[in-house]
């Protein structure tokens, strides 16, 4: 692997390179064109420079908030509820065999 990756310890000040964008697109499963990679590298660099300011006030003594209204775990009684039929679940699928979704090979040759 010659691609540079965010996890290789580069500081965020190093900014986004086309290689990083290609790597992220791979993780996100989007086959970006080279034009898109170039455009996104520029745009995301500008956006990141702007949103980086969160670190100015996010000091160690401030706890994070993941959810706007605190809730404790939500449970329900362990009884069957209504579910989709197989036909309903398959109705919007690009391809199926009547009981299962159909896809191409899961593994490539190198795997």
């Amino acid at each position: 692997m010659s691609q540079s990756t965010p996890s290789q310890g580069k500081s965020k000040e190093a900014g986004l390179t086309p290689d990083v964008v290609r790597h992220l697109a791979g993780l996100a499963r989007i086959a970006l064109t080279e034009d898109e990679v170039a455009k996104l590298t520029g745009e995301l660099g500008i956006i990141l420079a702007s949103i980086d300011k969160v670190s100015e006030v996010a000091t160690a003594d401030v706890p994070g908030t993941s959810h706007p209204i605190p809730l404790t775990n939500v449970y329900r009684d362990d009884v069957p509820g209504p579910t989709l039929t197989t036909a309903e679940a398959l109705a919007g699928a690009p391809d199926h065999d009547g009981s299962r979704f159909r896809v191409t090979a899961i593994l490539g040759e190198e795997q």
Partner: protein
């Protein structure tokens, strides 16, 4: 001559339907006729419900048979395309879901059907609700009824434009960072983002799960309240749904409309959201409105919210992070588009080709940004920091609400800008939501209400009212009082001044 049915409010239509003055078929037909006349120009709708008139006839038959029907029975409503609807495509404005008909209704949609409302169709939006102009819809932009060369706001520009163009009296929207309130502001309509968890998200195609909230879009405060009463309340299918018992918001709106004095009410003006960079006409109308409120007896206090400065930055980390996870479900396997790459490939190759072709530019931008913010090595610096800012913004709101019962600000920093003006400048587009984003980060409710036309361009401006979490009734009460004060002052409603279109 009686006013055309499509110009009446939902509350007025309800009264006429209940008294037998008009039938739901007549009301529905009047709105379908209006859509046929103007929607080629406005493009608020992506899909029309071919069963609307049948539903209306059924409601009429029930009423004729003496069945006791609730408020809004037989009244038409439009549904933002982010909400799943049986029998109608639900695309969220994306090519990747083109033609997809869900196998279930969103809870809010099921509740509207159970309350005998007539679903007119699905409204346009920025793809997966990412945008402030509807220009990122894969199916073409919606046009602002006040000036067809301008944006109707976003992401829920379709619902707001449909209401403002008198194509429907009421609609549903969803608001993640302002997608109900900002379109309301720039189209002269009313929009409410309820308290997070106040309305079910089940069947709302998720953008950012900790921020998304479904809410009403209308021309009057009372109409928004009537819709909220129907769609709100606990839903066991949404694990973040609050189990609170809610008061009647329609009652709050009716009480507010009757109220003569605002004596005893403390209205906080958020200093950071009354900014010098805002359009002059927006600031002018905002300060005139504050004077009107003070003249009615309200105590106006200035409150500081120092961390709001960081809200947009935190939002554009949290939202892309959550969106990149939520949108992973569009994998070409279970629903939606599948694109087979030339020469075939593995399921991952198919997935990548599908997502390349099925997602538009703003969706790709945010997925890549979110993937970056969540990557190892950057998580703490970006996503972790943004979550801390969220805490600081909640603290700012707590401090502000200890000094004031409600907070106000302009609902959008400018009037509607021209189509195309900010399309190539993502950062400029993001700043449209500077006034609305804090409420989403804190989970509190907010309403946008028309406060007049900006003198320099004659386009609508909106005031935002915010209340503490769970105190949505305050929005409806004060909103209805202010609406009446403004209509008394102008001598007409704001939307009666909109161009005729047809």
């Amino acid at each position: 001559m009686a006013a055309a049915l499509n110009t009446l409010t939902a509350a007025e239509l309800s009264d006429k339907l209940a008294s037998g003055d008009v039938s739901s078929v007549e009301v529905t037909q009047a709105h379908l006729d209006r859509i046929a006349a103007v929607d080629a120009d406005v493009h608020a709708f992506l899909h029309l419900n071919e069963n609307a008139l049948d539903t209306a006839a059924n409601v009429d038959a029930k009423r004729k048979a003496g069945e006791k029907l609730g408020p809004l029975a037989g009244v038409p409503i439009a549904i933002k395309d982010v909400l799943c609807t049986l029998g109608m495509p639900s695309t969220a404005g994306s090519r990747i879901l083109e033609g997809w008909v869900p196998p279930y209704d969103a809870t809010v949609v099921a509740r509207l059907r159970a309350a005998n409302l007539v679903l007119l169709g699905k409204t346009n939006m920025d793809e997966f609700a990412m945008g402030s102009s509807t220009e990122f819809s894969a199916y073409g932009a919606t046009h602002n009824p006040w000036d067809l060369d301008r944006i109707p706001g976003g992401s829920g520009g379709g619902s707001a434009a449909a209401v403002a163009a008198f194509e429907t009296p009421i609609a549903l929207g969803s608001d993640t960072g302002g997608s109900i309130r900002q379109p309301a502001a720039v189209t002269g309509s009313v929009g409410v983002k309820p308290t997070y968890g106040g309305v079910s998200r089940y069947g709302a195609i998720a953008l950012a799960s900790s921020l998304d909230q479904v809410g009403p879009v209308s021309r009057t405060v009372l109409d928004a309240a009537l819709v909220h009463d129907i769609i709100g309340g606990h839903d066991p299918r949404d694990s973040t749904s609050l189990t609170d018992k809610w008061p009647s918001f329609a009652e709050a709106a009716r009480a507010g409309a009757q109220q003569e004095s605002l004596k005893g009410l403390r209205i906080g003006v958020v200093k950071e959201l009354d900014a010098p960079g805002f359009q002059a006409g927006v600031s002018q109308r905002f300060h005139e409105t504050l004077t009107l409120l003070a003249d009615a007896g309200a105590e106006i206090v200035e409150v500081g919210a120092p961390n709001f400065e960081y809200a947009v930055a935190a939002y554009y980390l949290i939202l892309p992070a959550e969106a990149s996870s939520n949108l992973a479900k569009f994998d070409s396997v279970r629903f939606g588009l599948r694109v087979n790459p030339v020469g075939g490939g593995t399921v991952e190759d198919v997935m990548a080709a599908t997502r390349e072709q099925g997602f538009g530019p703003e969706v790709k931008r945010r997925i890549i940004l979110g993937t970056y913010a969540l990557s190892a090595g950057y998580y703490d610096a970006y996503y972790g920091s943004a979550q801390k800012v969220r805490t600081l913004i909640q603290r700012d709101f707590s401090a502000a609400f200890s000094q004031a019962d409600v907070l106000v600000s302009p609902a959008a920093p400018t009037t509607a800008f021209r189509l195309g003006e900010k399309l190539e400048d993502p950062l400029a587009m993001y700043l449209n939501d500077v006034t609305t984003i804090p409420a989403n980060l804190a989970g509190i409710p907010g309403m946008s209400l028309p406060m007049g036309l900006a003198p320099e361009d004659g386009l609508p401006t909106g005031i935002q009212i915010m209340a503490p979490a769970r105190a949505d009734d305050r929005l409806y009460k004060l909103g209805a009082t202010l609406e009446r004060l403004l209509v008394d002052k102008w001598g007409h409603t704001l939307l009666s001044q909109a161009p005729a279109l047809s």
